[in-house]
Amino acid sequence: MTRTGDSALRWAGPAAAALSVLLSSTALAEVELYQSVDRNEVGTEDTFRLSIVVSGAPDTAQLQFPAPEDFEVLSRSQSTQMSYHFGGGGSSIKRVQKYELVMRANRAGTLTIPPAVLTTADRTYKTEAIEMQVKKGRLHTSPPPSPRRPTLPDPFRNFPVPSFPDPFGDLDDPMGFEPEIPRSDSDLFLRFHLDKEEVYVGEQTTLSLYIFSRLDVSSIDPVVMPKLEGFWSEELDSPSQLIAEQKVIDGVPYKAYLLRRRALFPMKPGALQIQPAEADITTGLMFAAHRSHRKSNALAVKVKPMPPGAPAAFSQGNVGRWRLANELSQTEVALGQPITAKVVLEGRGNLKSVSLPKLAAPPQIRVYEPTTSDKPASVKNQLGGKRVQEYLLMPQQTGTFTLPGLSFAFFNPETGAYEESKTDPIQVTALPGAGGANAIASGGPTPTSPDDSAKNKLEPAGLKPLRYQASFAAAAQPLWSRPYFIPLALAPLGLWVGATVLAMVRGALGREDEASRKRKKARAARARLAAAEKLAQKGTPDEFYGEVEKALLHLLEAKLGGPAQGLTRPQLDERMAAHGVPAERRAKVLSVLETCEMGRYAPGGGNAARGRALDDAEEAMEGWESR
């Protein structure tokens, strides 16, 4: 297919008219034919430009372009120049036709472009063949320069126009890429394009799907997009009409049609794949229409994890460039009246994944659940927008309270660092309401339905206050675990047992034998005799003689080892005799007992008789004890 370049089309009309007028009166110049390439050494992926120039050829001349097997002709263009010469020999016209072919080698090696042939009515002209050195791959990164129109000077260049910083000025032009022309289907192909192939988790990369065509596209059946696994996807553009955009790729003019544009936010680190999209494309019109199935290229995205050191308040979805603000409808309010607080987050990033900080308020202000509204926006295909959380605040007490400042931590992929956007604390003053306690105190009519919201509510809330004074003490060991506790508890038992043992010992030690009992009785007898001696002067005869008698009987019990009380005198005499008491002593004892009995029952004799009885008793006892 032969196509005429833009410049040729633009200038060919008027030039042809002038040429037809001039040709009638002037002669054509000599025919010239030559061909040249812009470079002789290319890669198999490079395109190059073959120029064929025909000068002074008649209208009937036919040019045969070289048809090399080893090269692919990607495009052709033609331009014509006319020049007039006025001299002594008359005027002459020279028409120069220039054909440009954009070509690409099919294989590596030393290849030859065959000559172009121009055939006129009387002669055949031939150019030289051109030898090309073709290497594998791409040798030239920049495409061959395409012919450009001269640019006109900017008429407003000297005007003092103030320049404003463009917040999205750093964003790339979405069509600022040049796809590689495929070897097959080079006239119609689908291409995926990502503006960034290496991003952080949560950072936007924009995926665009284009059709590049050198044919007239009439319709496209529904495009089948891949699933885009691992990405959060938001549609940016999905044109309902095909709008062509001129695009020169490697010097070849194409029409580019945008089919889909999506903002992708990777959700996990690693290498994520984007599978090809597919579409059925109809080219041509009516009966010449042709339907083709095309498949785009696949892409890979390298997703980097966010660096360590995230702030404590950071949430995973907070990625982008954000600014936090808060505002109150009023800072002074009557008790019972609500205040509206707005927390606004604005910027660039995935608005749906960000988490706004929660508005904190002192316990004296009741905070109701917020309503959230999102206003997504995209500028130059960068998704962003504004999220507004609207809180209703209701002061519960009068006074001035502080709503603490908020902080929104986010990861900025442009700087690769965590940043924080903070707001300032705001003070709110709640004043006594008109219908509250004040109104009742003023003695006015009692409201029929008192408004509880206007009361100064003093509810217990929050933490109990600190203790103002302290009694300092080290951590005390339990009393029961202290070393003295068990001994102290056992001590009374020990004392009890000890006393019992002591008593038992004393009991055992205090048991009397016969001799000691006798001694004891003898001591008792002497004690009685001493008592009788005291009674000798003052006591009654009964007391005196009773004591003397008891003293003697105790002595007898001690000496004879048995009871003496109640025995008759013959019995006493018999027992004394049995114990070997001499008759004289027995008589003496019995005599004293007789005296005592007489003294008790027949008193008389006075103190002298008492003295004799006492002496007799002492004599009997001493004599006996001395035995």
């Binding site: 217990p460 933490l463 302290a470 009694s471 951590a475 508890a489 001590a491």
Partner: protein, 247 residues
């Protein structure tokens, strides 16, 4: 700033007189009300380290930790305050606030602690121990006195001795409960933000569940760096010793 400098000066001392301790306590309280919670917490801790602790300091330390968002430490110190000074309204209120902030909800836990623990918690250990000692000594003393008294007075002494010995038996039982609870039940609080409970006491052990700061658990046994914990609903697992602090 001046207050902070004053607190710093006090913190360097190795011993506090009662006056210095009270001054540091007041400064820590002031720091708390200025919302300088870290400074307040540090001052309270120093008081405890220097032997100037007690239920009041423990309560304020727990409350400051709670205000600073250190949930695990807050519950720990408030529980210690309750143990040191017995139940009180402010300790219970702040403990309720701390429990409301806890992440863990133990399903199937009995609403109340076991009877013996409740009995031990409800009776002050020191008073019970003193009551036991005094009634025991008095009872036995009166019993001994009965031997030396005349029959008329003996009955009164015996009645008093019986009364004292009855009191000694009941207070002695309470002392035994305190000793049993103290010796056999070691309670602790999770202080780490999150703690994995494993089936076996090793790093490779399968994780049974995860607990979070502020949860009160019982320590059962220790094996190396691991300790076996039991939740109030009977759930058990081995976890890192550093993550829990005994009350």
């Amino acid at each position: 700033m001046i207050a902070l400098l004053a607190i710093s000066a006090f913190l360097g001392q190795a011993y506090y007189t009662p006056e210095e301790a009270q001054a540091l306590f007041s400064q820590a309280n002031d720091a708390y009300y200025r919302e300088e919670f870290s400074a307040a917490i540090e001052a309270y801790r120093k008081l405890i380290e220097r032997g100037r602790g007690g239920p009041d300091v423990l309560f304020n330390l727990g409350t400051a930790c709670l205000a600073d968002g250190r949930l695990g430490e807050a519950v720990l110190h408030l529980e210690r305050a309750r143990r040191a000074g017995g139940p009180s309204e402010d300790v219970e209120a702040n403990l309720a606030v701390a429990r409301a902030r806890q992440l863990d909800q133990v399903i199937g836990a009995s609403a109340e602690e076991p009877f013996l623990q409740r009995l031990a918690a409800a009776t002050p250990e020191r008073a019970v121990s003193l009551a036991f000692l005094s009634s025991w000594i008095a009872g036995l003393g009166l019993l001994g006195l009965c031997r030396y008294l005349r029959p008329g007075r003996r009955a009164l002494a015996a009645a008093l001795a019986a009364l004292s010995l009855t009191a000694a038996v009941s207070s002695g039982a309470l002392v035994a409960v305190h000793a049993y609870v103290s010796r056999t039940i070691t309670e602790a609080v999770v202080v780490a933000p999150a703690l994995k409970a494993r089936e076996l006491p090793r790093e490779s052990g399968r994780v049974s569940f995860e607990v979070h700061a502020g949860l009160k658990v019982r320590l059962l046994e220790t094996a190396g760096q691991f300790v076996r914990i039991r939740l109030p609903n009977g759930l058990e697992g081995w976890t890192e010793k550093e993550g829990v602090a005994p009350i």
